[in-house]
Amino acid sequence: MRTIPLLREREKQIFDKAGNGTFEMACDRHSLAGSVSQRACVFCGSRVVLYPIADALHLVHGPIGCAAYTWDIRGALSSGPQLHRMSFSTDLGEREVIFGGEPRLYKALCELIATYRPKAAFVYSTCIVGIIGDDVAAVCRRVAREQGIPVLPVHSEGFKGTKKDGYKAACDALFSLVGTGDITDIAAVSINILGEFNIGGEAWMIRQYYERMGVQVVSVLTGDGRVDDVRRAHGATLNVVQCSGAMTFLAEQMKERYGIPYIRASYFGIEDTAQALYDVAAHFPDDPGIRERTETLVRDEVAAVMPELRHIRGDLEGKRAAVYVGGAFKVFSLIKALRLIGMRVVLAGSQTGNADDYAHMRALCDPDTVILDDANPLELSRFVIEKQADLFIGGVKERPIAYKLGLGFCDHNHERKTPLAGFEGMLHFAKEVHLTVTSPVWALLRRTP
């Protein structure tokens, strides 16, 4: 295979462990102009975090596209209202671009709130709103006053940074809700689950683990979320934050204002899930039975999935995987989870990792693993071929590329259909990987009469 030239400025965003000497990633960078980046924008980040709040109104203030593309594309499940699955847009036209969109935003909000009586409203600013200079916050304040519900501006203009900045904007909006609810009936052994969006029902599973441990879950932020739960979140004793990026901002803010400590957790893979549960248990040393309940839970759950996992491992032993997903934290978990089913990670990368993340990733990987930050499709396909991967784990844009190359694929972003978190999720994940890696379709490539 012909090697492709790399963008010169990108050399530092790629690390080929076998080749280069020192390890120093230049990440946290804006994508280069002219790159075929797989990254998204600030608005995308905010939306991912806030949309699972199902009894809130989500209004996208901007031209139609930003709203149309994000209409119910993320499988954040709700057990109750489905308002978050509708698409509301101010659908700005030329007139507003010239004269401003504030009156239109005001009208839209009033109409929607009158119709749906939501518990709160989030208003997402898109790029153009940032340029035409609408005072979205002022309109929100006015509507909040008139309608008597919180109306929160989300400053998610796409050009104002990366997806991470969108997480932060979302956290700012959430933080203004936290602390406004009644917390009298909250137990001492209680937590909030942060950064869990209930894709495929994952939040339900995790919540249930904690409840079996005897821990009260005050609020899941934001999977299957409700405004009233968010308002009460400051009543919890501990914040358990999943993933590196999305909701650490909120945890930091809550620590500062309410003195609630936070710990990190990953629910992906058996090791990490067990670790998360034990960490939470350890936080409540005064609760007499918690340690034991947790041990029992872990033992039972692991015993339930291990036999089948072992079986799957038999088929997958020695196969190679390429992992390229949004957050770096997820990459760590995937590396471990793949190892559990006998696979080796030959390429690892993320859209949004920082320097520490990449150092950690390097430590987790084999010496010859390629590490990439914000990769383009040419780089991805080049390394996947060079490293002879059998499986690609990525998002919507990577799937057809993997298939074209004739390798298996597993979606670990928001298009996944089954819960991949927790113990049960590990089994789903293993089955999905097994199904695709061992599919007969890859052998159909050549004509074999």
């Binding site: 790399l6 963008l7 804006h30 994508s31 280069l32 102009a33 002219g34 790159s35 075929v36 980046s37 797989q38 998204a40 924008c41 608005f43 995308c44 901007g62 031209p63 139609i64 596209g65 930003c66 709203a67 149309a68 593309y69 994000t70 209409w71 594309i73 489905q82 308002l83 509708m86 698409s87 509301f88 847009s89 101010t90 036209g93 030329e94 239109r104 009208k107 839209a108 109409e111 929607l112 749906y116 790029c127 153009i128 940032g130 340029i131 035409i132 796409g158 050009f159 940074g161 383009n376 499709p377 040419l378 919507v396 844009k397 799937r399 057809p400 074209k404 190359l405 004739g406 490539l445």
Partner: protein, 458 residues
Amino acid sequence: MLLRHTNAEIKERKALTVNPAKTCQPIGAMYAALGVHGCLPHSHGSQGCYAYHRSTLTRHYKEPVMAATSAFTEGASVFGGQANLLQAIDNIFTVYEPEVIAVHTTCLSETIGDDIPQIVNKAKADGKIPEGKYVFHANTPSYIGSHVTGFANMTKAMVDYFAESGPRSRTVNLIPGFVEPADMAEIRRLATGMGVASILFPDTARVLNGPLTGKYRMFPEGGVTIDQLRQSGTSIGTIALGVMASAPAGLAMDSKCKVPCKVLNLPIGLHDTDLFVDTLRRMAGVNVPETIDLERGQLVDAISDWHPYLHGKRVGLVGDPDQLLALSRFLIALDMRPVYLVTGSPAGKKFEESLRDTLSDMGDDLRIAVPGDMYLFHQWIKDRPVDLLMGNTYMKYIARDDDIPFVRCGFPILDRMGHSYFPTVGYRGALRLLEKMLDALLDRKERDSSDIEFELVL
């Protein structure tokens, strides 16, 4: 009850679109640009828009969709995106090596007011565009029009930039409109079957429905070449299919290179395919071969076989303007009743009039919204249901909630296969549409019929 939030009471909404029946210009421009051979579409704006456009096209085609972005930062949004675009052009030609870059704007760069031709000229002057390679552009502000407008603008840009006059050839230009790769191939097949040499643009066949080969090609086989686009200026005529998507390019060709242009409906259904075939026959001075008459005859035969099951069925459609017009005519020919029609595209009074003219027999039952959204459409359905729904994937919420048979057509289709491989244009395409509609209607009939009514032979 996913759409339990649809309110039955219809109020006029002025400032608000709920559940849109359109999307923004750049995605149409990106799709059109992918129909040029070796072309990398480039989105001049911030990187979110283009990530969404690529994802949506990927979900619809299940194919890699390549495009680049100027990746605007705050600086660019204050000082303009010239530096970003210059750097982008340089990077793209160095790293990805396309033949052509097709730049489209976004809301952001439009509002800032970047002058793309001036920037492209500067790139040329600075030697950033290698010999024999090209950069062309279309302005696609999304706060005007819809994805169809973007497609039309990019297609017109192909003419504006490349078509050259010259001694007349015997070739006919075919502008297929915002249709699927399979449709584009079918339009060409009909022309070839009639012995007409044609230049079809844009042409996404074999770009967005390519084979699995074990290799990843950033620039697949298909697409109209720049040479062909150049020669299109010497053709004997142009057939532009679809007033909204194709007429601007066809008319631009006429005024730039004096190539006479006929604007027709999309060749969906019997009459509009007849019209296309007949126009092509006259323009190229050929006869219609028996093979095509055979296809037509088979279609009429199938309609006659099944017409009792189609008669009087009330149909609700959401789609793009060109599709709505042609589909309405087809449904009428089938003795069906297209009664509710919504497009998100602001297609104008004239379009609405021609739609109303076509459907004048529907009387009081007729409801049309140009532009409207799916929410409004759903309110109509709640008011009085129909027998069949036709529209893109987003219509499945309505189909489910109100338990109505549903045929997917249009853009985007995110949850079924077929549109990449089987055309809906031409006589063959009409047969396929007929099959899909009958399947939906008859499956429902059998599901709902009692044991006594349930029959083996239909």
